[in-house]
Amino acid sequence: MGALYAMIGIGLTIVFGVMRIINLAHGEMVMAGMFAAYLGQKHWGLDPFLSILLWAPVLFLAGVALYRFLLARVLPGGELNTLLYTAGLSLLIANAALLLFSGDYRTLTLGYAIVPLRPFGIAIPVALAIGFALAVAITTALWLFLGRTDLGRAIRATSQNREAAILMGIDVDRVAAVSFGLGTALAGAAGVLLAPSLYLYPTVGELVIVKAFVIVVLGGLGSVPGAVAGGLLLGTVESLGAVYVSSTYKDGLGYVLFLLVLLYRPSGIFGVGRS
Amino acid sequence: MGLIGPNGAGKTTVFNLVTGFVRPSSGEVRLAGESIAGKKPHAIARKGVARTFQIVKPFARLSVKENVTLAAFLRHRSRPEAEDAAGALLERLGLGGRGEKLAMELNLMDQKRLEMARALATGPRVLLLDEPMGGLNPSEVGAASELVEAIRRGGVTVVLVEHVMKAIMRISDRVLVMHHGERIAEGAPADVVKDPAVVEAYFGHGAA
């Protein structure tokens, strides 16, 4: 679970790092991924995990389009305005989905995922296991991308110092578009991976976005390794919390942790973000 | 009094400590014998210590007059009184006709005037000016120097952090030099300039 959380967190944190905006619609993008996987299976019989190959690029392009046509005009208005804009976007997408799909809960079932795996005596649902594996793979691929390719380096450079990046000849606008697309794709991919394991409903984005914030702040806004760590941390805290404290309070633990970090170490537990 | 020193010497930090924007981890800060260490900035402002910022911080979307009026509320309870005081200060500092303009519409020199006017509106005993001449051309520097001297004549103690040497040397009664967070010299401008420690701090080893 933590790895999937991490994926969501990474998407959000990249967008923040490059554009200094907190994308409140991020949760909806995860939702979009979930529904895409669901529809893919329902209408075309696509296996959700394989369908990532289809949906990730689609969501990437959607993200770039969103940036180009909607966000780019609003960015000059300032952080607050952009934040509110993404809030509006999130409501728009979530409610459009509500109108299209109705608020019923849906589930995605996989024929091969009924019996859980039992490594070391711990029961792990198959879907979650595959999801985890793929998430790790994707995160690693992303890490390589950011570290080894020119575009990846451009993204990191822009997120560290926008003006210097411009001076170095980096097309900051293109980087921003790519980053947003990447963030969307990551969120959507995480949604696809999560789809077989959770209930699907159009307003799930609300739940997701709050957790995404917790993760990103835990690890430091703008830091990718921080998001990974944050995701794993939250996933672990929640699982342990569910077992030892009580399953109803596990969400609360995350929030309390979140508040504590905000108050005492705003740059994140790993101190790599900006305060 | 002038406060000088190479970049990074800690001059702005001293200001921040004195005005309460940074808490001291040890030592004391006293105003006329009374300890003000660790107090919040607004409390220190009430005690009569005002400051300007190195990078001006106007209330951008408010009018010039409103900027100063807000500060004047510290000494005048009613709005009409505060506005009158603000108006007078604006005149004194050369911003007379520009009261209704938005703070963000002013040029740099006028914004610095606004910054000073606002600080003065709080009726301070001590005024800390943080590099007021940064970014000004020579004639503006001259105008700013005259402003500072006029403020001093009004009875306010001024502590000036600056890099523009001519101005500081001309208008300071006393100069304190900092380097790497410590005081390395203090005295009349003419003496300080000749102090070998000061020369070394600015020009490097062997220049003395």
Partner: protein, 329 residues
């Protein structure tokens, strides 16, 4: 519009609005009006903190829910009549907001906003789990309201009119408060804090105290709105009154209408409620889609909000009207 003229105009408008139920008997229309008044109140309450002081809170649902639950608990468990319970609910919300504010205001900008979000979510969890206090997910259901006689007439709690008037009064109170704030010293201080908090501190403004007082005020107004909600809808549970959506709706109404203005939230509430409820009637769900759409349009094209832009236009036009010699009231 400034000064006495505006006050008089406002008073007249309120009185006129109060007379509406005598003429209009369509229950749906009255219901819509009640909703508009409720959301306008919430928008005004949020505006106090968000528009004037520039502190964007995503957690106001916590205050709303607190007021609602306080009123419900006081009525159902302690038999305190709702007309006392509502103000008490407001006070409870204000009281809780003070320590929360003292802590949260250490944070600035987006960090503050995120913290408010977390606080609200935590409160929802508490409400869901502290069943001994809040009945958990079951919530509270009010089956009957105590009798009340106003001016000798018994109140018919099944009709819309009493609620209409109560909501109108509540909104009037909220707007009055905001109007008073905007011409007060505290209001000016808040704007200074919004523009540049460091500079405000440097000129002697106690920013923490100003922010906390503002939050308490905002909390009180939000709390009484919560109490009203319980009275009108007669049912609350954590999801109805403590969810993120409510916080966001408040933000939207204030922003779409116009931050920092007195009439803005009313305009915002009018647009959004009418659009939203119409969708809800036709489609059953997804009514918030307009909120999202309006929000995006406003931010993109009218960042000061609909009324914000309108009032600027009016200001620009009015000096020309005043010039032909006639003095303005």
């Amino acid at each position: 519009m400034k000064g006495r003229g505006a006050l008089a105009a406002g008073g007249v408008a309120l009185l006129a609005a109060a007379g509406l139920p005598l003429v209009v008997h369509n229950s749906f229309v009255l219901h819509l009006c009640i909703l508009v008044f409720l959301w306008a109140t919430l928008g005004e309450a949020w505006n106090v903190l968000g528009g004037f002081a520039g502190q964007v809170s995503f957690g106001h649902a916590a205050l709303f829910g607190l007021g609602a639950y306080a009123t419900a608990i006081l009525y159902l468990r302690a038999e305190v009549a709702p007309w006392w319970g509502i103000p008490l609910g407001g006070l409870a919300a204000a009281a809780v907001s003070v320590p929360t504010g003292l802590v949260a205001f250490r944070l600035r900008g987006p960090y503050f906003s995120l913290a408010t979000l977390a606080v609200a979510e935590l409160m929802k969890l508490v409400a869901l789990n502290w069943e001994w206090a809040t009945n958990g997910p079951t919530g509270f259901l009010i089956t009957s309201l105590p009798p009340l006689h106003l001016l000798g007439l018994p109140m018919d709690w099944e009709a819309k009119a009493p609620f209409y008037l109560a909501a109108l009064a509540m909104m009037g109170l909220a707007m009055g408060t905001v109007a008073a704030l905007s011409s007060s010293r505290l209001g000016a201080y808040l704007v200074a804090i919004r523009e540049n908090e460091d500079a405000a501190e440097a000129v002697g403004i106690d920013t923490v105290r100003a922010k906390v007082v503002t939050l308490a005020l905002s909390g009180f107004l939000t709390g009484i709105a919560g109490g009203f909600y319980v009275l009108y809808f007669r049912y609350i549970d954590p999801d109805a009154v403590l969810n993120l959506g409510i916080s966001m709706e408040m933000v939207f109404i204030a922003v779409v209408g116009g931050l920092g203005t007195v009439l803005g939230p009313l305009v915002g509430a009018l647009c959004l409620t009418f659009a939203g409820e119409t969708v809800r009637e036709r489609f059953g769900a997804g009514h918030l889609i307009f909120y999202g759409l309006f929000m995006m349009l406003v931010i993109r094209f009218l960042p000061e909000g609909i009324w914000g832009r309108a009032s600027k236009l009016i200001d620009r036009l009015s000096p020309k009207e005043a010039r032909p010699g006639a003095p303005r009231g």
